[in-house]
């Protein structure tokens, strides 16, 4: 009885989560522009999507910003973790408190705060202001993923390397860095996805001329939904699906190897 209830419940939640997405996918192949009439299979909205210069430019912006922001955030964040470890616990707590602000704060506040900052210092809003803003909200995620990797155990391993004659630089490269690597990687990936996904902060910190996928969707939805956005949804969904499946399979392979 409990089991059946559990199954039914899961199915209901799944339907709730996926039916809207399914509707978008189906409509993306509809010849008609209407959301209520099916006029036959077509790929015309996909064509329209890729012929849109605005969209192609937005995609390029989204990914270049995401990669650069994640890269910068990863470097600054990882260095910060190493720096924080050398500080007095009190100083560290204060800095970590500031570090958490962009993560805990509402995005709209972070967005307008940064916008005001750029206005105050007459920093013309555009690609660079968006990039800077993205690094601001990515760094906390990097720090939170890397920090747990640097612990007593890392200290011990570092000491063991020195004990065996390694210089500090060598010990850092050969022992500490490999220990931190999983944290650094997940910090980078987390930053990348947060950056790609962001709308609100980009919305307030971008200039008039620059769009990411998110801001472009928003402006188009406001004007009126075109089915090319359904095509975009389908592509985004399928991409996410493929990436997540690949990650999961890879994880399974690693698990299997470890089990052996």
């Amino acid at each position: 009885m409990r089991k059946i209830f559990g199954r039914v419940y899961v199915v209901i939640i799944m339907l709730f989560l996926y039916l809207p997405i399914l509707a978008l996918i189906v409509l993306s192949f509809n010849e008609a522009k209407s959301m209520s009439v099916w006029k036959g299979f077509s790929l015309r909205w996909y064509e329209e999507l890729f012929h849109s210069k605005l969209m192609v430019q937005a995609i390029a912006n989204t990914f270049s910003i995401a990669i650069l922001a994640a890269l910068i955030a990863t470097i600054i964040g990882t260095l910060a973790v190493l720096g924080l470890a050398a500080m007095k616990p009190r100083t560290e707590t204060v800095l970590m408190g500031f570090n958490n602000i962009p993560m805990l704060n509402a995005d709209i506040v972070t967005g307008i705060a940064l916008m005001l900052f750029f206005l105050m210092f007459h920093w013309p809003r555009g690609y660079l202001t968006v990039l800077f803003s993205h690094t601001v909200f990515c760094i906390p995620y990097v720090i939170l993923s890397v920090k747990p990797r640097l612990n007593k155990n890392t200290d011990k391993l570092f000491e063991a390397a020195l004990d065996l004659g390694a210089s500090e630089r060598y010990a850092f490269r050969k022992i500490v860095l490999p220990e931190l690597r999983p944290g650094i990687m997940s910090g980078f990936l987390l930053s990348f996805t947060m950056s790609v996904d962001d709308f609100i902060i980009t919305y307030f910190t971008r200039g008039a001329g620059i769009n990411t996928i998110s801001t472009l969707i928003y402006s188009q939805v406001k004007v009126g939904i075109r089915p090319s956005l359904f095509a975009l949804s389908t592509i985004v969904f399928v991409t996410a699906l493929v990436v997540l499946v690949a990650v999961n399979l890879r994880q399974k392979r690693i698990d299997a190897k470890q089990a052996y």
């Binding site: 940064l114 005001l116 760094i139 200290d155």
Partner: protein
């Protein structure tokens, strides 16, 4: 010994330029009048009828969405906890996947479903039923919020629930507690940290959103987020926008402090 303080220099610069000064500038603009003098007018502007209405509605809708998410998420987390390892992985995958889709597109999906000429109405018409006006209602906004934020409630709760030692539950049964009693006095108290971070992750974005209300409210229903956004993007009145943001931040901080009271672990489960 690995650590050197100077490594944190870029980080500190980023904190100052990216967090401290920007937040200070909200405070500065919030207490400054357009002519440049000190004023409380931007703060007290919250008491204007429109603004109070928007704030009240925001709090109400955010609260309703959070409660719905919580009620939907807890059974899901328990089902996940009880599933076998392989199935569990699949279910978590299924819950995470929508989070990877841009939330504007997800919100748009409901617009497509709910619109007058949308999918649900065309099905209703095909079945010979009357059209329903579903868009541009508070209900549509709540639906959008629940849809967008539900995974953020399920995952943290699942995280804490899955860590509850089965022995504790068995011990409770062993000591004579019923299912309900075991749930209310063992499972629920132990899941508080997950509930707290789930509530934080749903309530605050719901309270401050302007996107969902814009897309599913058709610009006719104003939440506090919409008011602030318009001050910045349409009216270019940063002073008023900042003042209202400060008031909104008070609510954010208050809700966080309130939640923190329940959670003694201090928000470690936030991601």
């Amino acid at each position: 010994m690995i650590a050197k303080k100077r490594f944190a220099v870029p980080f500190i610069i980023w904190i100052i330029a990216g967090t401290v000064i920007p937040l200070a500038s909200i405070a500065y603009y919030g207490f400054t009048s357009r002519s440049g003098g000190f004023t409380f007018a931007n703060i007290t502007a919250m008491f204007q009828h429109d603004h109070m209405q928007a704030l009240g509605l925001s709090l109400l809708l955010a609260l309703i969405s959070t409660v719905i998410c919580l009620v939907l998420a807890f059974p899901m987390a328990m089902v996940l906890r009880g599933s076998k390892y392989g199935k569990q992985g699949f279910l978590i995958f299924v819950i995470i996947l929508p989070m990877w889709m841009n939330f504007l597109l997800r919100t748009m999906a409901w617009q497509v479903l709910l619109e007058r000429q949308g999918v649900i109405n065309s099905i209703l018409v095909a079945m010979g039923l009357p059209r329903q006006e579903m868009m541009n209602t508070p209900g549509a906004i709540v639906l959008g919020m629940v849809y967008d934020f539900l995974p953020f409630m399920i995952l943290p709760i699942y995280n804490t629930v899955s860590k509850i030692d089965n022995h504790l539950i068995e011990a409770s049964y062993d000591l004579g507690a019923s299912r309900v009693k075991t749930f209310t006095s063992v499972v629920l108290p132990l899941s508080v940290p997950g509930i707290v971070s789930g509530v934080t992750m749903v309530f605050i974005p719901a309270l401050t959103t302007f996107v969902i209300s814009n897309m599913l409210g058709g610009g006719k229903i104003n939440l506090i987020g919409n008011i602030i956004e318009q001050e910045f993007t349409v009216n270019s009145n940063w002073y008023l926008g900042s003042g209202l943001s400060l008031v909104m931040m008070v609510f954010i901080i208050a809700s966080m402090l309130l939640l923190q009271k329940f959670d003694k672990t201090g928000g470690e489960n936030l991601i």
